[in-house]
């Protein structure tokens, strides 16, 4: 061991310390950057006297993958929760105060008063007014649902174009990594960027990654469709510009394969795109079906039976776009809730006579024109409680009264909200937990870096002192020689 070797060791030590300091300062600069993975300089002794510090990036592949899955699940669930909240408020009102169920209750109450004093025209008009509120509730509910579906469709289109953009960005970063790795360049920053992109993609769609040679990464969706392999695969979605009750939304295609439909309020959807498709198709359309059935129930509860054989039924207080025919019995007429309206012959605002509700609008039931004739009114009020047959949210026929069916609609939506909110809590806890665990493994602790910096400071001054000592020793040696 000679002095010159010692000198070169001290020199390389200074160099390594400087390099380590730059790592510490980079770590500190990114202490609060969620997409940054902590770097550490690993110092290894190779040959005697020469040390090489390599810089590594903290990663945990398993935890990262778990975090991606949790993020997808939570994004989907929170999309469902928010969507259901919006649907519930826009159709049923705050605390279900303007739900068809509550409005029908008010109509029945008004009928009750009117039947007690059938000669009172004001009560007749207030009953028609209550009926108008029901019609408005159904019409506006339909409109709200279809607006909701249109907006969801627009958001899906935006998300799909975001996804395509993210995949294009991913290709650039992935190419950099592959090229850099092959050329031996530092690709750590690109790795950070790639992980950040993966997180963003997983918010939209559930993914898993497959690592390949030279740092190349392939992305497949949870159902096994390739999303990225050397080049991004195209995600295709055609938005429908305006929805009506009969419109059927388009599917999202990844590489030509349709995205699977998700089910359940504790949704099995992952990623916001699948959840938005589920909201658009399952919940919005399911609610529309129930509103349509309520509208059909109303038209038939207030229908008038022809006193002359063959005793056919004709719509009474509530009519739809073909006023003199009844909607098909026992099956859904698509969009009926948007078509239902008040009979112009009864509605005072359209020049009708509200008292016709008592006497019959299509046929004269009150032939002698008695002021307190209330047979029809009592029958209408009872009809709302009489059992009927409706198509339920699942498509099966259920035997319920109109009032019971309308409350079941409220129950259906609120059940979904409750389940979704409960699931959101679990899934958000999972995201928090995995994010925290991942952050603990891969992010920076400022105190630790500070402590490390102190160590480096000491090491630097020690090496510097070493240089000085060796320098003096060499001077001494040279003085002896001179």
């Amino acid at each position: 061991m000679s002095l010159s070797t010692a000198l070169s060791i001290a020199q390389s030590s200074l160099l390594n310390t400087q390099r380590q300091t730059s790592v510490v300062s980079k770590n500190l600069a990114n202490a609060y950057n969620a997409d940054y993975a902590r770097r550490s300089a690993i110092v290894s002794s190779l040959a005697p006297g020469s040390q090489i510090a390599t810089i590594s990036r903290a990663t945990d592949v398993a935890l990262f993958r778990q975090n991606l899955t949790a993020t997808s699940g939570w994004m989907a669930q929170s999309t469902i929760v928010n969507g259901l909240d919006r649907l519930a408020v826009s159709v049923n009102g705050v605390d279900n105060a303007t739900s068809p169920a509550a409005l029908i209750g008010r109509l029945q109450e008004a009928l009750q008063f009117y039947a007690a004093t059938p000669s009172n025209r004001t009560l007749a008009e207030s009953t028609v007014e209550a009926a108008r509120q029901v019609v408005l509730g159904l019409n506006q509910g339909t409109q709200a649902i279809q607006t909701f579906r249109t907006e969801m469709d627009g958001q899906i289109a935006t998300a799909v174009s975001d996804l395509n953009q993210l995949l294009a960005d991913f290709k650039k970063v992935n190419d950099e990594i592959v090229g850099g790795t092959q050329a031996g360049r530092d690709v750590l920053d690109s790795l950070d960027r790639r992980d950040a992109l993966l997180k963003k993609i997983s918010e939209l769609i559930p993914i898993s990654t497959i690592s390949r040679a030279h740092g190349d990464t392939m992305i497949v969706t949870a159902d096994g469709t390739t999303l990225f392999e050397t080049i991004p695969r195209h995600v295709h979605f055609e938005a429908t510009p305006a929805y009506g009750p009969a419109s059927v939304g388009n599917k999202v295609f990844i590489d030509g394969v349709p995205l699977q439909a998700a089910t359940g309020a504790n949704t099995n959807a992952s990623g916001s795109i699948a959840a938005m498709v589920q909201l658009r198709d399952e919940y919005a359309d399911g609610l529309q079906l129930q509103l349509d059935e309520i509208a059909r129930g109303l038209i038939s509860a207030f229908a008038e039976t022809n006193p002359a054989p063959p005793n056919g039924e004709v719509p009474g207080l509530f009519v739809w776009n073909t006023p003199s025919t009844m909607p098909a019995a026992g099956t859904r007429t698509v969009g009926l809730a948007g078509l239902i309206s008040l009979n112009a012959l009864i509605d005072p605002q359209q020049g009708g006579d509200a008292q016709k509700l008592r006497d019959g609008v299509n046929f004269a039931f009150n032939t002698a024109n008695h002021a307190s004739f209330n047979e029809l009114l009592l029958a209408y009020a009872d009809g709302l409680d009489a059992p009927g047959s409706f198509v339920g949210s699942g498509g099966a026929t259920v035997a319920l009264s109109l009032k019971a069916y309308s409350t079941a609609t409220v129950g259906w939506l609120e059940d979904a909200r409750k389940t979704a909110a409960g699931a959101a809590e679990t899934k958000s806890a999972l995201v928090m937990r995995t994010t925290e665990a991942l952050s603990n493994l891969t992010s920076v602790n400022v105190d630790e870096e500070m402590a490390l910096m102190l160590e480096l400071e000491h090491s630097y001054s020690a090496s510097a002192k070493m240089l000085q000592v060796i320098d003096e020793m060499l001077k001494t040696l040279l003085a002896v020689v001179r």
Partner: protein, 348 residues
């Protein structure tokens, strides 16, 4: 690899997340404390929200029924008063008729009594409540009883025509002095259908036999009015109208006696019919009262169910609010002391 490593970011994130959760819980608890109902009934009840909506609706409907029952009860009370008034008047008239049978009473006094009876009848049977003629059956916008004392009224015209047709002269014709008991009995039998038969609804009454039907509970209906067409009113009208129209100065004594005898018979039957009707009406009133009691009980029961579903325990919520506030304060002070806990503060 460190044994237990925590990143600075995880520390701040965790604090932030916890504080946000506590704050949103506090918002909910405060709302619950204000309304004493769960903050979001839909989220709390899920599928059972339908039950809560239908309970609220049923309560509104039951309250509506109680209100409409009040209306029917008032109608029945008025009817009851009217029936009582007519029964009393019939009793008075019966006493007068009985006197007339035994003693010599001035016929015009009897005639006036009979006319007074008819006037009482029109005033009672044509009484109006809330814009409804309560004795009109369901034809409530029309006064049910025609005024017999008005010479142009159809019932008076029909009666006079029948008299003239039967005897060939008017009641105040001097020829009336020759009417025998048998002739009068024959006339009374002939004119009877005008009162007790089909003639009543044509000439006397605009009321319908059908009475007002009211829904008094969710499942029960009741007849809540009395029609002017019941037999009691008809008999009363006949007993009074025959006397009122023909008891003038020219009528023979035999004719008068025959009329009074028939009148006494009819009045007796009328009083018993009216008493029966009072009984029926009383039963309906009682049914209404019971129905209201049942409705109130149902409302109480349903309100209790709603309270069970949506209500919150105020003490529990109050202590929850206090607890949350304490927790949030702790969380704030922890955050601030954690911020000071940094190596930076000790390096110079």
């Amino acid at each position: 690899m460190k044994v237990s490593f925590v990143s600075s970011q995880a520390i701040t994130q965790a604090m932030r997340y916890q504080t946000a959760r506590l704050q949103s819980d506090l918002v909910k608890a405060t709302k619950e404390l204000g309304t004493l109902r769960v903050a979001d009934a839909g989220l709390a009840l899920g599928a059972r929200t339908g039950i809560s909506v239908s309970l609220h609706r049923e309560i509104d409907r039951l309250k509506g029924l109680i209100d409409s029952n009040k209306l029917a009860a008032t109608r029945l009370e008025t009817t009851q008063v009217g029936l009582k008034e007519l029964t009393e008047a019939a009793g008075d008239l019966l006493a007068n008729y009985s006197t007339a049978l035994t003693d010599a009473v001035d016929p015009t006094i009897i005639q006036q009594q009979a006319q007074k009876m008819l006037a009482t009848m029109s005033s009672v049977l044509n009484s109006n409540l809330n814009g409804e003629n309560i004795y009109a059956g369901i034809n409530t916008d029309v006064k049910p009883l025609n005024d017999f004392l008005d010479p142009a009224s159809p019932n008076r015209v029909a009666f006079d025509t029948a008299f003239s047709a039967h005897f060939g002269f008017a009641p105040n014709d001097p020829a009336a002095a020759g009417i025998t008991t048998a002739q009068m009995d024959a006339f009374l039998a002939a004119v009877e259908p005008q009162f007790l038969g089909a003639g009543w609804q044509g000439d006397w009454s605009q009321a319908t036999d059908q009475q007002i039907t009211s829904r008094i509970t969710l499942t029960e209906t009741a007849q809540t009015s009395v029609s002017a067409n019941i037999p009691g009113f008809r008999k009363l009208a006949m007993a009074a109208a025959t006397v009122a129209a023909t008891f003038g100065g020219e009528m023979s004594k035999e004719g008068r006696i025959a009329m009074i005898e028939r009148g006494v018979e009819l009045l007796g039957e009328a009083i018993s019919d009216l008493a029966n009707q009072q009984g029926y009406t009383g039963v309906t009133q009682q049914r209404l009262e019971r129905a209201n009691e049942r409705l109130s009980m149902q409302i109480d029961l349903f309100s209790g169910s709603i309270q069970d579903l949506e209500g919150v325990d105020e003490y529990e919520v109050a202590s929850r609010v206090t607890g949350l506030r304490t927790q949030i304060e702790i969380s704030y002070s922890l955050t601030s002391s954690m911020r000071q806990l940094s190596l930076l503060n000790y390096l110079s």
